[in-house]
């Protein structure tokens, strides 16, 4: 079982606090992300973006959330047998979880390397497969956690704070 964490050093305490004792979410949403369906993938990200915009989240934070979320949704469609995106919105942050039905990532550290991609011909035809999605997710998130293993499902979750706590 492989596990990967990347937390912005200055936010380590807030992130640990969140994961050890998550408060009740203000809003919880779930979206199916089917396999190889690049039109449905992205609906969740788009809805969450519209909702956060209405809630008054600033445009730069909105952009970071939208990009990280969309890349994660596309990865479910492109590389997994499909899965579920869950979105938990709190006063000060958003927690996004992507849980798929496998086939898993054998070496997460390798998958994080910019340019590394196992995308097939179909995925590349759609313009994906540069091997930049996971690095983009990391760059835009305050905390990133990935858990996976060959032959099992992949869990990717991330936190983005609305403003520095």
């Amino acid at each position: 079982m492989g596990e990967y964490w990347n937390i912005k050093p200055e936010l380590e305490d807030s992130v640990k606090q969140h994961f050890s004792a998550p408060p009740e979410a203000e809003v919880e949403l779930e979206f199916e992300v089917p396999e190889k369906d690049f039109n449905t993938a992205g609906r969740g990200s788009s809805e969450v973006k519209d909702l956060l915009k209405r809630l008054g989240v600033d445009s730069e934070t909105l952009r970071r959330i939208a990009v990280a979320s969309y890349e994660a949704e596309i990865n479910l469609a492109a590389h997994s047998k499909g899965g579920v995106m869950s979105c938990m919105i709190y006063d000060d942050l958003i927690h996004l979880r992507f849980l798929d039905k496998g086939p898993g990532i054998e070496d997460i550290t390798q998958a994080m390397i910019p340019g590394y991609s196992t995308a097939d011909e179909l995925v590349r035809e759609f313009g994906f497969g540069a091997g930049l999605g996971l690095p983009n997710i990391q760059k835009n998130s305050d905390a990133l956690h990935i858990q996976s293993a060959k032959g099992s499902s992949t869990l990717l979750e991330l936190l983005i704070f609305f403003s520095a706590p």
Binding site: S59, R63, V67, Y70, F126, F128, A130, L132, N136
Partner: protein, 113 residues
């Protein structure tokens, strides 16, 4: 900031989103790439995006990234569903018959005039 309207005659562009007014759209720069994750990682909001990719996903990428207009080079014309989605999202779609290199060169010149 440069008005999109200024660019249209220079690249002989057609506007596929008549519901959106290029006279009201300004841009601060451009990004040129056909790899969607590269665009999401490196383009900035307020830029225009030059590409030959024409699948529906380009609208989502532009919307997530804060791109105001997509310029299809080499005479690429978007399908009706792409135009509909872009209009909904407020993203202008232009097509130029010129190749990517020439479109980019003209944008560069316009921005630096």
């Amino acid at each position: 900031m440069t008005k999109l309207q200024t660019l249209i005659p220079l690249i002989q562009a057609t506007n596929h989103t008549p519901g959106l007014d290029p006279g009201k759209v300004e841009f601060s720069g451009a990004y040129v790439s056909d790899l969607l994750s590269d665009v999401m990682g490196s383009a900035s909001s307020g830029q225009v995006w030059v590409t030959i990719m024409r699948h529906l996903n380009v609208v989502a990428v532009a919307s997530m990234t804060g791109i105001t207009a997509i310029i299809f080079a080499k005479g690429v014309v978007p399908d009706a569903d792409v135009i509909e989605k872009a209009t909904e999202e407020g993203i202008l779609l232009l097509s130029s018959p010129m190749e990517t290199f020439n479109v980019s060169g003209i944008i560069y010149q316009t921005l630096n005039d």
